[in-house]
């Protein structure tokens, strides 16, 4: 039984580390009502500042910590001041996307300044260790636990007994009322971002010391685990975040004990989704009454769609159809890529824009489509022309069934649940070796062909994608102009009012996810046949974010906008190629500017 004791200790040790992240996230959510996706990036900044201070300046621990505190506080203030303050009053989804953009920019800056090489962080904490069970616990473990608990305690005291803390709590309860009572909301938000960023930065440094290693790529994992812990503890609940972190650590540890290491994250995400469904307000919150009435139409930016002159679409379409005649295969490949992503964007703009279910796991639909078509062609020997539409149908069914339990969630919860479901799909693909060949992936997927006509050339791929995209777009426009379109948009604008007029939410969400799954599944299937090889990483979480960016860029719910957004976001990094390693940074900045200055997207929301 000593092993179980060890698993428990290990669960606490790793949960301890998650706690530092989750506390900051909880604080920001509590006050700004925002899941801060840039949190992990601040963590990386903190780690690198600490590393730079120790290696270049030779600072002792207190001074190192001071450097991290100062820099991260400034970063936090900058995030609030530059990135988010201007977005008050714009659509609810804008700040969330802004944090994604800020994270992207911070990661790139760190990578440009300090290179992507992993670095060793010199240990500045005494190296004594206590034997406990079969393993040991060191001074750093205790320090991390100490900082986690004491920061929670200090935060509690701050919130309870200081004037600014009182203002923070008032703002968290009701920011409008607080403002009327003379609370300076901006100052409060700024203080909160500074505090949360400092916590995040310190945890970056300590975790860097703990593993003796930091690299810029560690931000995503940190954000993800922090968010899972946050959900378990209850959004905005600081002590809950600590408990949630420990529970997450224990779950992972026991998951490894029972099923093996490769199931670890599967357990974490299953726990996340289960929590969202079972107790969306977290373990430590009472079940709340119905949400208060929303302000009208705050979900998406209010705007009128851009009206194009009649001739524009046919002319652009004609030009697109004639593109292969230029005989520029590189251009054509980018075109084909854009078209494949445009199908994904169509799917997401329907689900996120028209129905208001902002999915952060949409890439999983690509994966399902790709694997379905690949396996049908490889193992069942289906012709490609049949495998692709079949994959579309399979994705529609499976995708809808997977999201079905999350239909009763709203707002941020939908995004986080879909993020979790997306990760689960990827991990199931990785672990279901018998069907999917696990990590080895699917190789030798036959190239595109239509009843014997070879479409494997770039021209063939492009033509096929263009035809499929036009058909999907026309169908989607047709549906949007029918009663389905207004019903979907009614659910998005106010689901309570829609239900009161006889609109069964589940049915219409399912129809949207079904159609969206079909389009995304086709996209994934075509991609699989073009690539000839896919594995569980081919359609990773970053693609989900990319797809959402396309949708926002084009204008939520806007079919033409989705196509335009996909084309731009696939073409832009290629156009920025000359800028080499700066291109992703520039991409992030462009994204932020867009959210700031044209939140309704280029073509306007519909």
């Amino acid at each position: 039984m000593s092993a179980w004791f060890d698993y428990t200790v290990n669960g606490f040790v790793i949960g301890n580390i998650y706690a530092l992240l989750a506390v900051g996230l909880a604080l920001i959510y509590g006050v700004a009502n925002l899941v801060n996706f840039a949190h992990g990036s601040v963590y990386v900044v903190g780690a690198y500042i600490g590393w730079a201070a120790i290696t270049h300046l030779g600072t002792p621990l207190p001074l190192t910590l001071l450097c991290v505190v100062v820099v991260c506080a400034l970063v936090g203030v900058a995030i609030e001041r530059i990135g988010l303050r201007a977005l008050q009053g714009s659509s609810r989804i804008a700040p969330l996307l802004a944090t994604i953009g800020i994270g992207l920019v911070l990661d790139q800056v760190v990578q440009l300044v300090w290179s992507p090489d992993p670095r060793a962080v010199p240990m500045q904490v005494p190296e004594w260790r206590i034997a406990i069970g079969g393993g040991t616990i060191g001074a750093l473990d205790l320090l991390i636990a100490g900082i986690g608990c004491s920061s929670a305690a200090v935060l509690y005291g701050f919130l309870r007994f200081t004037k600014l803390g009182w203002a923070v709590r008032a703002t968290a309860q009701d920011s409008d009322a607080a403002q009327q009572m003379g609370v300076d909301i901006n100052r409060v938000n700024m203080a909160v971002f500074a505090i949360a960023s400092v916590l995040s930065g310190i945890s970056g440094l300590l975790v860097g010391m703990y593993y003796n290693q930091i690299n810029p790529a560690m931000s995503f994992e940190a954000t993800l685990k922090g968010i899972v812990a946050l959900i378990i503890g209850g959004l905005g609940n600081v002590p809950g975040a600590i408990a949630g972190s420990l529970i997450l650590g224990l779950t992972e540890s026991y998951g490894i004990a029972l099923f093996g290491t490769s199931y670890r994250n599967l357990f974490a995400f299953v726990l996340l989704v289960a929590m969202l469904l079972w107790r969306p307000n977290g373990l430590f919150a009472p079940r709340r009454a119905a949400a208060p009435e929303p302000m009208v139409g705050t979900f998406i930016a209010r705007s009128l769609p851009v009206k194009l002159p009649r001739w524009v679409v046919p002319v652009v379409l004609l030009a697109a159809a004639l593109l292969p005649l230029l005989n520029q295969p590189y251009l054509l490949q980018i075109g084909a890529n854009s078209l494949m992503y445009a199908m994904l964007a169509l799917s997401l703009t329907l689900v996120a824009g028209t129905v208001g279910q902002v999915s952060l796991g949409h890439a999983a639909l690509l994966a399902i489509g790709g694997y379905a078509s690949g396996l049908l062609a490889l193992d069942a020997g289906w012709p490609v022309a049949l495998a692709i539409p079949a994959a579309g149908l399979i994705t529609a069914g499976l995708g809808t069934a997977l999201v079905w339990p999350a239909f009763r969630l709203t707002g941020h919860y939908v995004s986080i649940a879909t993020l979790g479901i997306g990760e689960i799909v990827s991990l199931v693909i990785l672990n279901w070796t018998g069907l999917t060949r696990g990590a080895i992936g699917l190789g030798g997927i036959p190239p595109l062909e239509l009843f014997g006509v070879d479409l494997g050339s770039v021209q063939g791929t492009y033509w096929l994608c263009l035809v499929v995209l036009v058909l999907l777009a026309l169908l989607q426009l047709r549906l949007l102009s029918s009663h389905l379109g207004r019903t979907w948009r009614a659910i998005r604008d106010d689901s309570v009012a829609a239900r009161s007029h006889g609109v069964g939410e589940d049915r219409y969400k399912a129809l949207a996810f079904g159609y969206g799954g079909f389009a995304a599944g086709i996209s994934g299937a075509i991609t699989a046949h073009v690539y000839s090889y896919i594995n569980h990483e081919t359609f990773g979480a970053s693609l989900s974010v990319l797809a959402l960016t396309m949708v926002i860029l084009g204008g939520m719910g806007n079919v033409l906008g989705a196509v335009l957004g996909a084309t731009l976001l696939i073409a832009l990094p290629e156009a920025f190629r000359a800028l080499a390693e700066y291109r992703i940074l520039i991409y992030g900045v462009v994204l932020l500017l867009l959210i700031r200055f044209r939140p309704q997207g280029l073509m306007g929301t519909v």
Binding site: I14, E252, L430, I584
Partner: protein, 379 residues
């Protein structure tokens, strides 16, 4: 470090044509280009940077004396298949390019393979150990170390070299890691020993404590790590933190000066096999290591060495068989005895289109340095 950054920038595609550090001598033929598709940004960016260092060094050494001066065009793919296929179209339709090197990861490389195969441009995936990579077509070649060769060598080190018969394996859960683990298990069984547990972890994982408890409870007398150096450093530290004292044996990708930097004292006593070892007295190795140290003021690692070998091969092919795509393809089938840091000399197996005969060294970390392991069970 600033020098390092600058060299990266110089090599960027913004100049249209990679680094052409060698001055053009009068009368030299027009330069010949190879295309490189690899990560310069994104999570794998460090590997692209390592390639560049090695490529620049190789070209600096070879070009002055070569008839055909070689240059490279490096396009950043982020190791992302979406971008590697676009790059493939770019290269395929750039008449100057006679051969392609990369991409880094198997998904990115293999997604582009159909395009290279169709266009009859050699795709030389020098880091692609995925067993299916060269099955993509007769234009897919690789000099990446064959795991079918490496894993039995590793098993031999653990079993006969160190006298271990119950091995716990911790491996990266990727195409490479799983292939390697399977080959390793087979080799272990063939030698009459057993694998007590095999645990796969995901990239980006940092916490291995519970994984190690599982390994510990399977009662191994040795622990085998199939991973890259950065993860391996973390794993070894946690093995020792948990109080496990079994000898540790690791694959060649763990060999890197960075292992010592990231692992600290904990990695003392770790055994690795490697195809590349800077202290190896062989002249081919010493020439490379000295030149690399002189240029970059640090020790090269296996990624540098492989990339260097690859550029030497490319220059050899161009100069020996001619600066055309067809000549390169033909040359790969014929070429023999190309000097190589990793293999000594390189020649390709015509059916697998891979190189065999890597020369493995057994190393052990002693007092923070890699040293050749001279046999006997460790105390």
């Amino acid at each position: 470090m600033s020098l390092h950054r600058r060299s990266l920038l110089l090599g960027s595609a913004s100049l249209g044509a990679g680094t052409a550090l060698a001055p053009r001598s009068a009368g030299a033929a027009d330069p010949v280009f190879v295309g490189v598709s690899g990560p310069l940004t994104g999570p794998n960016a460090q590997y692209g940077a390592q390639w560049k260092d090695a490529f620049d060094l190789a070209l600096e050494q070879l070009n002055p004396a070569a008839q055909h001066k070689l240059q490279y065009v490096f396009e950043d793919s982020q190791s992302d298949p979406r971008q590697s296929v676009a790059i493939a179209q770019k290269f395929v339709n750039d008449a100057r390019i006679v051969m392609e090197l990369g991409d880094f990861s198997s998904p990115a490389s293999m997604a582009a393979s159909p395009i290279y195969q169709r266009a009859k441009l050699v795709q030389f995936g020098f880091t692609n150990s995925h067993p299916d990579f060269t099955k993509g077509g007769d234009y897919m070649w690789s000099n990446s170390i064959s795991q079918a060769e490496e894993q039995p060598t590793l098993a031999d080190y653990a079993i006969t070299g160190l006298g271990r018969h119950k091995l716990g394996v911790i491996h990266l859960n990727t195409d490479w890691g799983v292939t390697s683990k399977n080959l390793f298990s087979a080799a272990v069984q063939a030698k009459g020993a057993t694998v007590t547990a095999a645990e796969g972890f995901l990239p980006n994982e940092r916490d291995f404590r519970s994984t190690l408890v599982r390994i510990r409870d399977s009662n191994p007398d040795g622990i085998v790590i199939i991973a890259y150096y950065a993860d391996a450093a973390t794993i070894v530290r946690q093995i020792r933190t948990l109080g496990l004292t079994q000898p540790i044996v690791a694959v060649s990708s763990v060999y890197s000066p960075k292992l010592i930097e990231l692992g600290g004292d904990a990695v003392n006593g770790v055994h690795v096999i490697t195809t590349f070892f800077p202290d190896e007295p062989r002249p081919g190795v010493q020439r490379f290591v000295e030149a690399f140290r002189a240029k970059y003021n640090r020790d090269p690692d296996t990624f540098n060495a492989t990339a260097y070998d690859t550029m030497v091969l490319a220059s050899t092919l161009v100069n020996q068989y001619g600066p055309t795509r067809a000549a390169i393809r033909e040359g790969l089938g014929k070429v023999r005895g190309v000097p190589s840091v990793i293999f000594g000399t390189m020649q390709f197996d015509q059916t697998t289109r891979r190189v065999e005969g890597a020369q493995y060294k057994r190393l052990v970390v002693k007092d923070g340095r890699f040293t050749l392991f001279t046999g006997g069970t460790p105390s």
